[in-house]
Each structure stands twice: as C-alpha cells, then as structure tokens.
C-alpha cells in the first residue's frame, strides 16, 4: 500500500513547522529524510504515524486518509521506532518485544502467529541470545536492538524510524542496515530519519531533504547528495567519494563560506 503526503502543513504555537510538503513513499523501498536540526524531520515522522493531528493537508495510505482509520488498525499498518529509547520498567526482553504485537492480539493473550512474529523479529535483530534477560540491564546498543525487534514484531506495512542507527557500534550499524534492507526486500516500506550522510547514501533508495519545514530536494542518492546542494542546505563543504568496494562516502570537511 502506498503511503502518500499531499500539501501537508503543520503549525505549532504560531510557528510553521512544516510547509506544503508533498511526497510519495514506495512499499519495499527505503526512504531517508535528511535535514539540518530543526528542519521538521521528526515532526514529519509523527504526522506520518498519525500522532500529530493539528496538520493541514492529506496523508493517505492506499488512498484512504490515515486519520479515518481507528488507532488500533492504523497501528497494524504503520509502526514507529521513536528516537528516545524509553524503557520505563525492568521487564523481560521477550515481554518487551511482545509489546509490538499489542495492535494484533486481543485482550486474552497472544496467538501462535504472534509468538512466531516475535521469534522472527528477535532472529532478525540478533536478539535471540538476549531472551530471558531484563531490559534495563542491557547495554545501550542491546536495548536499541531490542526496541528495533519490538517495532519489527508488529509486522507493519510501514516502519517509520527516527535515528535508528544512533545507539549502535559500527558492527551493529552495519547489521541494522542490512536487517532494514532485508525487511524492505520482504515488502515493508521504510522511512528513516538520519543525520549521517554516508549512512544515508548507503541505505537510501530515495532521499528527501527538509530545510526550514519545506522539501528542499528529493530524488535518488546521486541526484540529491551533491556537494552544491549540501553546501546550500547544510552549510558544509563535503568530500563525496567512493570506497574501493563501490560504497559511497560523504565526509563533511568544513563550514561552507
């Protein structure tokens, strides 16, 4: 199902947070939202999740406004991995991941399908070995993996993730990127907010750059991540290169004059 934004604007406390944004997200692809601090990236994500209700314009899922869907049903289609890794109680890792199934099961417990989805999400994120441990006793990186598993366990059609790579060491950054690619290949649409330009260049199928609440550029990696555009929006001079294996590398060098 296609996720689509038409002429979305959001005003909070008299300030224009988002202005006239239109975008299409393709199922099975990874869309990365980039932009300087305060550009409106997280606000856009919370609009897409249906959490922000003061917006104007339309957000549609397979043609129907996401606000017409009951919250529990919308939660089955659109999952959110929030930036802030909140784990307020020291609950069992598996119980925490199982919270991702809340939109699916009734009040009287989980089905075999729920358990299978939890197992699959744990296997995908390398969390199986953490089963039986307490969530608050884990390291920051382990917690981030468990929270990713929580989001995947819901098997949403769309996964929206705010800075999903921030808490990981390099090895697990690579693991999470390949995990996200695998679930996208499985048909899940993914929208990521990222800060690191090299990570964005490596994982994105499509990039949207926000600046001051507006879409400053959108398109493929090679169309968007050009030195000129990055200088204009991020005020940086960058080195755009390619590693021996063919992977793109984008390194900020200095402030643009």
């Amino acid at each position: 199902m296609e996720l689509r934004i038409d002429n979305l604007s959001l005003k909070l406390r008299g300030r224009d947070v988002l202005r006239d944004i239109s975008a299409r997200f393709t199922p099975g692809k990874i869309t990365v939202i980039l932009g300087p601090n305060g550009a409106g990236k997280s606000s856009l994500l919370s609009c897409l999740t249906g959490l922000q209700r003061q917006q104007h314009g339309r957000i549609t899922l397979a043609g129907a406004s996401i606000f017409d869907l009951p919250a529990a049903l919308r939660a089955r289609h659109i999952g959110l991995l929030a930036q802030k890794a909140d784990i307020h109680w020291d609950i069992d890792v598996r119980a925490l991941i199982a919270l991702g199934r809340l939109p699916h099961h009734g009040r009287w417990g989980r089905s075999a399908a729920d358990e299978a989805a939890i197992d699959a999400a744990m296997a995908h994120t390398d969390c199986t070995a953490l089963a039986g441990r307490r969530a608050q006793q884990l390291s920051g990186g382990e917690q981030a993996r468990v929270l990713l598993a929580r989001a995947l366990a819901g098997q949403p059609d769309w996964l929206l993730a705010d800075e999903p790579l921030a808490n990981f060491d390099p090895v697990h950054q690579l693991d999470v990127m390949s995990c996200l690619r695998a679930v996208a290949d499985g048909g899940m649409g993914i929208v990521l907010v990222l800060h690191d330009l090299t990570q964005a260049a490596r994982i994105a199928d499509q990039i949207i750059i926000l600046d001051k609440g507006e879409v400053a550029a959108s398109g493929s990696v090679s169309e968007v991540l050009t030195p000129e555009l990055l200088a204009r929006i991020f005020s940086i001079r960058v080195h755009v290169g390619t590693a021996a294996c063919g992977m793109p590398i984008i390194t900020p060098m200095a402030r643009a004059a």
Partner: protein, 322 residues
C-alpha cells in the same frame, strides 16, 4: 514462580490473614470457640468478619490503584493519593462530620463518595480532553491541595473541640466498628473500579515504551485517562468512604510485588490487590491486639510500619549509588 502460582500463594496467605484477624482482638477467640455459644459467633459474624471484609476491600483497592498509578505515571513512587481523589473523599466525609450529618451510619460514607465523585468530575474538567499526563497530574495536585486546605479550614472552624477532634481522628483512618452495610456499599464500586483498572492494563504495558510509542501502538491516551479516573476514583473513593485515609499501602505494596511479577504493569495489578489486602488485614489485626488504652488508628500504624520499609529502600539506593 509463575503468575498463577504467585496468585494462589497470595490467596492462601490472605485466607490465613483473615482467619487470624477473626481470632484477634481484645478477646482472643480461638477457632474451636467460633461456633460454641452465642456471644463468640455473634462477635465473629457481626463484628470481626465484616471488619475483615472491609479490610480486604480497602487493601485490595489501595494496592491495585497504587500499582495502576505507578504504571500510568511510570514512576515507582507514585501514590493513589496523588490525583486528589482521597483528599476529596475525605473532605466530603469531614463536611458530614462538621455539620453533624454523620448521625446515621451510612451518611458519612455517602458524603465521602459524593466528595470523590466531585473530585473526579473536577479532575476531568481541569485536565480537559487532551489525555495529557502532565495536565492530569497537575490537576490532581491542584485538587488535593485545595481539598486539603478546605479540610483544614473546617477543622479550624469546628463549632466544638469535640467536633474537631472527631474529624481529626476520623482522618487518621481505621476499620473500627465496620458493619456489613459498609462492605455492601463499597463492594460494587470497588468491583467496577478494579475492572476499569484491569481493562487499562495493556495500555499501561504499552506506556513502558513511552507515550509516543504507546500511541503509535494504537493506545488512546484519552480513553486511558478516563479508565484511570474511573478506576482510581472508584477504588480509592470507596476505600476512603469506609475506612478514612490509609497511607503507604498503595505506595509500598506494588514496590514489594514488582520484582515477583517481572515488573510488567498489567501483571502487577492483581498480585498488588491481593498483597494490599493481606497487609491491611494483618495490620488491622495487629492494632487490635496491641495493649493500649484505646485502639491505635490503622492509618497511624500503617505509617509507622511504612517507615522502616522506606529506610530499607533508602539504604538500598544509597548502596547502589555509592
């Protein structure tokens, strides 16, 4: 220990606590005398059994409300009194004492329930329709300081020293002279309140991941707020109506039970209710057998019992910080 084993164990402990409380009192009535003769059976059936039942209702209410409050606010130090329901119920009861309406046995609890109802209505008006946790908590703080001040005002304006001492004594909370009427009054309200809290359980679980994630999982914060309002209002309101203000149970019991149930907020509700009932029934038996001129008020006994617990908690935390 599995969840059902824990519940069975707590039920057995509760049953023994109730048996103990039926024997305990100014006159110890051992089991074999219960049915021997009119007087002992009258004492058991008309005095001690209703008192135990009221103790169970009060303890279960406070334990479950405390567990739900801590889950809702994601704060292990939250207390069921925080929303101002118990102080509004107390104000209602104090009004009935002040004007001398408390002559009929049921008028005082009725006034207390009315007070709790007004408190709930005021909370929902103040907090509005946003479902915001901060607004709700702030409204509760406003409500409890207002009702607390009005209660103090009534005490200071009391027409006779006797009336003001009556009010002060009532405020300390006790289960003295409770009858079947009290139990009958509180039971349905407590039942509905507990059902609301249990219904809120899965939303409380989702809140473990923070408000934004919980909402993204389809949890409606406004519905949750109504459930909490109804649940905490009915359980705490009816428990204040039949026993006055009894502190510490709602704070201490979920704390003790949490490690046993794996910290999940929904799994904490029923064990906290059972453990709360055990604590109140045991403490109430204790105040009855203490050799004192007049019975120690349960609310005071509970505060005295609570202090060493918090000291232990404090030393524990100090060790962890050091």
């Amino acid at each position: 220990m599995t969840a059902s084993q824990l519940r069975i164990m707590l039920l057995l402990v509760l049953a023994s606590a109730i048996l103990l409380s039926l024997m305990a009192g100014r006159h110890w009535i051992p089991f074999h005398q219960w049915l021997g003769g009119d007087l002992p059976s009258l004492v058991i059936m008309q005095l001690r059994l209703p008192r135990a039942v009221v103790g169970v209702l009060v303890g279960a209410s406070l334990g479950m409300a405390g567990a739900a409050m801590q889950g809702y606010l994601r704060n292990p130090l939250a207390d069921p009194g925080l929303f101002g329901i118990s102080s509004s119920a107390a104000l209602g009861a104090v009004i009935s004492l002040y004007f001398g309406y408390a002559v009929s046995a049921l008028l005082l609890p009725m006034f207390a329930l009315l007070g709790a109802g007004c408190g709930m209505a005021m909370l929902s008006i103040l907090a509005g329709r946003s479902g915001s946790l901060t607004l709700f908590t702030l409204s509760g703080v406003i409500l409890s300081s207002l009702t607390g001040a009005l209660t103090s005002l009534l005490i200071s304006l009391a027409p006779t020293p006797f009336a003001s001492s009556e009010i002060v004594t009532w405020l300390m909370g006790a289960l003295v002279d409770r009858s079947w009427e009290d139990a009958r009054l509180a039971l349905p309200l407590t039942g509905i309140g507990m059902a609301a809290l249990l219904w809120a359980g899965r939303s409380l679980d989702a809140l473990t991941l923070g408000e934004a994630t919980a909402r993204s999982l389809g949890i409606n914060m406004r519905h949750l707020q109504y459930l909490m309002l109804a649940g905490v209002g009915l359980t705490v309101g009816s428990s204040v109506a039949i026993a006055g203000i009894i502190g510490f149970v709602g704070l201490v019991v979920p704390h003790l039970v949490r490690p046993l149930v794996g910290s999940q907020p929904s799994a904490l509700l029923i064990p906290s209710a059972l453990a709360g009932a055990v604590l109140v029934v045991l403490a109430d038996s204790l105040v009855r057998i203490l050799p004192s001129v007049s019975e120690v008020r349960l609310g005071i006994a509970m505060a005295v019992l609570g202090t060493p617990f918090f000291l232990a908690l404090l030393f524990n935390m100090r060790r962890e910080i050091a």
